[in-house]
């Protein structure tokens, strides 16, 4: 089946960049286009994987930033 929406629109959809009206159009298309739904699921999979890669710095790094910020208090 020919996909009813361009990939770029789907990409903006999964990253929540479309206005509400366009979102509804995409959701309607997803209901009736299995290929589009599969592509969308693939994008969501990639998104989830990328979320897993996110890392936290050690607490000491944040504490150093907060200490630095507090030095402005004594100046003002």
């Amino acid at each position: 089946m020919i996909q009813t929406l361009p990939h770029s629109t789907l990409l903006q959809y999964v990253y929540n960049e479309l206005p509400v009206e366009r979102q509804r159009e995409v959701e309607e298309a997803l209901q009736h286009d299995p290929d589009l739904a599969a592509t969308c699921a693939d994008l969501l999979l990639a998104q989830r994987a990328l979320d897993g890669v996110r890392r936290e710095p050690r607490p000491q790094a944040s504490e150093a930033i907060l200490r630095y910020s507090r030095t402005f208090l004594s100046k003002s």
């Binding site: 999964v14 699921a41 897993g52 890669v53 890392r55 050690r58 790094a61 003002s76």
Partner: protein, 212 residues
């Protein structure tokens, strides 16, 4: 956005009025995205932490000197600072091999999922380490868009403006970045990164988009 949470803009106003706790919230909210953006460029956790500190120090100076433009969004702004500092550092050749002596310590500090056993945690961390390596293999332009959009929270239009290309080019690069990543993940058998969603669970599609 959660309506109970103060906006970044409100936190900045409170911070400039002398409320240090507002900056602490702002830091907690954005440190992960900033750190990850930098880490995926410089590939060294100690360097990434140093650059994260430089990023926030630069932000503090800009805000405290009254030069922060309130009309802009904080997340894309600070991630652009982080991205630029990381690229500068990478070009100066400050990077070293990405295996850090403190990896085990970090693992203990950052993994907080209590329900999983040690083997699950290690397997997941190994998968993420391999995925980070696959991101490094992406063409530079694709990797840049991917970092800015996914971790930097910049819109495709903001990325287009920052990199001097059209929005369609930015979208196309992101599309190919994700396609390439999926291909590499399949080739490297990274299938078990998310047991809640498989490539065949497409009907019905449960869409959980990233909040804007």
């Amino acid at each position: 956005m959660d309506l109970m949470q103060p906006s970044d803009s409100a936190l900045i106003s409170l911070y400039l009025a002398g409320q240090e706790s507002a900056f602490a919230i702002l830091l907690e909210r954005h440190r992960s995205r900033v750190f990850t953006t930098i880490l995926l460029i410089v590939r060294d956790e100690d360097v990434a932490e140093d650059l994260m500190q430089d990023t926030f120090i630069k932000a503090i100076h800009t805000m405290k000197s009254g030069r922060y433009n309130e009309e802009g969004k904080f997340a894309p702004w600070i991630c652009r600072i982080a991205h630029n500092l990381a690229i500068d550092s990478f070009r100066r050749g400050k990077r070293v091999p990405h295996i850090s002596l403190t990896d085990n310590e970090r693992l203990n500090n950052t993994l907080t999922i209590a329900d999983d056993g040690p083997d699950d945690i290690l397997a997941r961390e190994e998968t993420h380490t391999r995925l980070r390596a696959l991101i490094q293999e992406l063409p530079a332009a694709q990797k840049e868009v991917l970092l800015m959009r996914h971790y930097g929270d910049m819109s495709f239009q903001e990325i287009a403006d920052a990199t001097g290309v059209s929005i369609n080019t930015a979208l196309g690069r992101m599309r190919y970045a994700l396609i390439n990543l999926r291909k590499k993940m399949t080739a490297n058998s990274l299938h078990h990164y998310d047991s809640n969603l498989t490539p065949f669970d497409t009907a019905p599609v449960c869409v959980q988009r990233i909040a804007g």
